[in-house]
């Protein structure tokens, strides 16, 4: 085993799809937001999509084995674009988040080391300086007595956000 350089450079790409209800058309409108948090004031292309710079921070566990849904918080500064993101997205309720973490080399190029996590929006909170978007993973099936069946909305109803499934 070789001794790897002890330098860590990590960029996170967040792809957030918010939804808002249009009362007049009685339908949902979806809006895509793509941000990265490493390359200052730069638009970076990853997996064919462009990501603008935004100073966000992701906190929380990314996975566990107990079957409960991991919680993730995305912290933004409380500035106009993040507040608009929140208000136009129905308070981050049931938004869809794809968070990809990519390790970089010394030149800032992407390495092959990357992980992608998927989350569903629970809501948000605002303080005087920060805006916190809260998420849970959609489902984590590694638990005792979990039914060996394919889960669909037909046999479970809408997929829950709190790891409690009721077969119907």
């Amino acid at each position: 085993m070789t001794f790897e350089p002890l330098d860590i450079r990590i960029v996170q790409f967040m792809y957030l799809r918010t939804r808002s209800y249009n009362a007049s058309s009685q339908s949902y409108t979806y809006t895509d937001h793509r941000y990265q948090n490493y390359f200052i004031n730069t638009v970076k292309t990853y997996a064919g999509s462009n990501f603008e710079f935004a100073p966000f921070r992701a906190e929380g566990s990314v996975l566990n084995l107990t079957g409960d849904n991991p919680v993730l918080q995305i912290l933004f500064p409380n500035v106009d674009f993040s507040v608009q993101l929140l208000h136009n997205g129905d308070g981050n309720r049931l938004s869809q988040l794809e968070l990809t973490t990519v390790w970089l080399d010394a030149a800032g190029a992407y390495t092959n080391v990357a992980t992608t996590e998927y989350y569903v929006g629970l809501g948000a909170s605002i303080s005087e300086t920060t805006l916190e978007l809260r998420f849970r993973s959609a489902i984590d099936s590694a638990a005792n007595n979990f039914p060996a069946r394919t889960l669909t909305t037909t046999n479970t109803g809408p997929l829950p956000l709190d790891a409690q499934l009721s077969l119907q």
């Binding site: 002890l6 330098d7 860590i8 450079r9 990590i10 948090n37 490493y38 390359f39 200052i40």
Partner: protein, 136 residues
């Protein structure tokens, strides 16, 4: 945004910004360094204006008041007197333009009157990361 006034300082000091990095020392003693971004921040520029007339002091103080009241950043242009005497390459670094830094007052200007109508002013500036498209 109003650029810093075109006034020649008597003394000038500059400190480049730091990069957003944090070090963690492992039990073995090896250091792991984590980078959080690719641009420096918190550059420092100190300008001292010795024995200037009151109208010059007023210009500096008015600039401080308008910029700070509006919570607005500004540029120190490479072609103006605060960076006079530098090569263009060095002025690009010291002005923060190469890193898209914008300046703000680290503290209110310090004014010391030396005699009637004549004062010495010390200005301390911080260079911070801003969005160059907004220039706020």
């Amino acid at each position: 945004m109003a650029d810093f006034p075109d006034i020649a300082p008597t003394n000038r000091s500059y400190e480049p910004g730091v990069y957003p990095q944090r070090s963690y020392r492992t039990l073995s003693g090896a250091v792991v360094r984590r980078s959080f971004g690719n641009s420096p921040f918190n550059a420092k520029l100190e300008l001292e204006f010795q024995n200037v007339v009151d109208t010059t002091v007023e210009t500096i103080l008015n600039h401080y008041r308008t910029q700070t009241a509006a919570n607005s950043r500004f540029r120190v242009l490479t072609t103006t007197k605060p960076l006079a005497g530098m090569t263009s390459g060095l002025a690009n670094i010291a002005s923060g333009s190469i890193d898209n830094l914008r300046w703000e007052y680290a503290q209110p200007p310090q004014v010391r009157s030396t005699r009637s109508g004549i004062s010495t002013v010390l200005v301390s500036l911080l260079g911070e990361i801003r969005n160059p498209q907004l220039d706020d």
